[in-house]
């Protein structure tokens, strides 16, 4: 297995430890689980935005803890939702009196565990709201729309909501932004080589040297189609077509473009792929409003890429542009 690790069962613990040690001035561990919170406490009266879900997607979520983004992160075991206890520990460590916003992907385990945590918060008088991100259009008609997964759009949602919380929005207004975001983000991925879980000994699926899997998930789930590998331009155009179809922006619109590496694809290829995406968009009469290119929401060491498009109004754009200072995303 082409992996740097010790005991496979210690991977999450040691990964979290490494992040916190590398960013000791910004991150601190909380509670007895893998939870992480900002060192700088929130301004009293601001909503704590907390992201969580299975680990194996680093730098998400713990790399996005910091000013302008998450107040805390709750990683579970690899690809496995965190427990309500772990979530509550991060809530306790970050709550600043104005309630908690959970940002989670649309996975049963994540939804249920955060739901249970929310019920316990309610018992303690801490108001919560949960934004469930379901941006993955990769499976198309194969699945019911309410089964769409959250993939790279989770970072986009967290960034926008984190910025809104930082400026002082209350829980209700954050909930409204979350709902608006839901209709404005669409993503789709393509895998060239599946990732390998530390606990398994083999990749989650096999792909021939010249095959690709269209519409993969970030847990090594199979996608919609297995095709011969195509040129970057053709892959980009395919992903642009599917995500655009979902968002249906008016002709001439400019979109947020997020090209995300799945873990094993190097930065140079992402840049090249972004160029292909931009040309495809322009060829279809659309523009690029904002750009993010990088390895942000991974599927362990999967080789491949996802494209996220955002159809954003000016308020969402200004939240996207707001300053952010986290280990894995920093701007301006």
């Amino acid at each position: 297995m082409k992996k740097l690790m010790n005991d496979p069962r210690a991977v999450t613990e040691q990964t979290v430890a490494g992040y916190v040690r590398a960013h000791a001035g910004r991150l601190r561990r909380v509670g007895t689980g893998y939870g992480v919170a900002r060192v700088e406490p929130l301004l009293p009266g601001t909503v704590a935005v907390i992201g969580g879900g299975g680990s194996g997607h680093e730098p998400m979520h713990l790399g996005y803890v910091g000013a302008g983004l998450l107040a805390g992160a709750v990683p579970g075991e690899i690809f496995s939702a965190p427990t309500p206890e772990a979530i509550l520990e991060v809530v306790t460590a970050t709550h600043a009196g104005a309630g908690v916003l959970f940002v989670v992907g649309n996975y049963s385990g994540d939804r249920f565990n955060f739901e249970l945590a929310a019920e316990r918060c309610a018992e303690r008088g801490i108001p919560t709201h949960t934004v469930v991100v379901a941006d993955d259009v990769g499976l198309g008609e194969l699945i019911r729309a309410d089964n769409r997964r959250g993939i790279a759009g989770m970072l986009v949602a967290a960034k926008v909501l984190g910025a809104a919380a930082e400026r002082g929005d209350d829980l209700e207004s954050l909930a409204e932004i979350g709902a608006r975001l839901g209709h404005g983000i669409a993503s789709m991925g393509v895998g060239l080589r599946a990732g390998t879980s530390p606990l398994a000994d083999v990749a989650s699926f096999d792909l021939g040297e010249d095959e690709m899997e269209i519409g993969i998930g970030i847990h090594g789930e199979l996608g919609r189609d297995r095709l011969p590998r195509q040129r970057a331009d053709a892959i980009a155009d395919l992903l642009v077509g599917e995500t655009l179809a979902e968002l249906a922006p008016p002709a001439g619109d400019s979109l947020l473009v997020f090209v995300n590496g799945l873990g094993g694809t190097p930065p140079g290829e992402l840049a090249l792929f972004f160029d292909a995406v931009a040309r495809s968009l322009e060829g279809r009469g659309y523009g690029v409003a904002r750009v993010l290119v990088g390895t942000h929401v991974t599927a362990l060491d999967m080789q491949g890429v996802s494209l996220t498009l955002g159809r954003f109004d000016s308020e969402l754009l200004s939240l996207w542009d707001a300053p952010v200072d986290t280990p894995a995303l920093r701007a301006p």
Binding site: G76, S108, G109
Partner: protein
């Protein structure tokens, strides 16, 4: 043969044993249409439950035993099945609260509440190819048997048969909930791991009489 706290404890210990034995098989089912950890999840969760139980020294009610186990499952499993089984047992414990021993109607009510908990937590409907497709037939069969006036062991036996049949019947369904749903049509022809484990759990209740 009383369905008291000790029976509840024996049930959950037996469940821990069977999930340990069937860990590989359950994970293998999950590998077909999910992420391959269902056996791990349950052996971890019910292992923790088992560790907390001391049969014979239990002062309380079956409801207390189930409630304790539910909280442990919720706090140790983490995946989808932890909250689902946790919610099921929590709801079940609520409908048998304060009873020292359960009769046939209680058993039927317990199963009905468990199924309802899963349906609610999972927004699942019958036929979605989930654990509900084992719990719901079990609850229905138990209700019928209890209506007919059968005793608790007979009610449980009926539930076991129905849970099993329900699990087997998931083979032909397309998954509409959970990770298996990402496969769409390709999920057909595989047994739902949660339905399979639910049948084992209900069987453990009968076997612990």
């Amino acid at each position: 043969m009383t369905l008291d706290a000790n029976w509840a404890a024996r049930w959950l210990i037996a469940a821990g044993d069977v999930f340990e034995t069937e860990r590989g098989a359950l994970s293998e089912l999950d590998r077909q249409i999910g992420d391959g950890d269902h056996g791990e999840n349950l052996s971890r969760g019910f292992g923790a439950v088992r560790g907390q139980l001391r049969v014979g020294t239990l002062p309380g009610t079956p409801a207390e035993v189930l409630r304790e186990a539910a909280l442990t499952l919720i706090s140790t499993v983490g995946g989808a099945s932890g909250p689902l089984y946790g919610t099921a047992l929590l709801r079940a414990s609520e409908v048998i609260a304060d009873k020292d021993a359960l009769d046939a109607a209680d058993v039927a009510a317990l199963l009905r509440a468990g199924a309802a908990g899963i349906a609610q937590r999972g927004s699942a409907e019958p036929g979605d190819k989930t654990m509900l497709d084992s719990w719901l037939p079990a609850a229905d069969a138990a209700a019928v048997a209890a209506e007919r006036g059968e005793d608790a062991p007979a009610v449980l036996a009926a539930a076991v048969r129905a849970a099993d049949a329900g699990a087997v019947a998931t083979d032909d369904l397309i998954a509409l909930r959970g990770r298996a749903a990402y496969l769409g049509e390709r999920s057909r022809g595989h047994r739902d791991p949660g339905a399979a484990s639910s049948a084992l759990l209900i069987a453990a209740a009968a076997d612990s009489l």
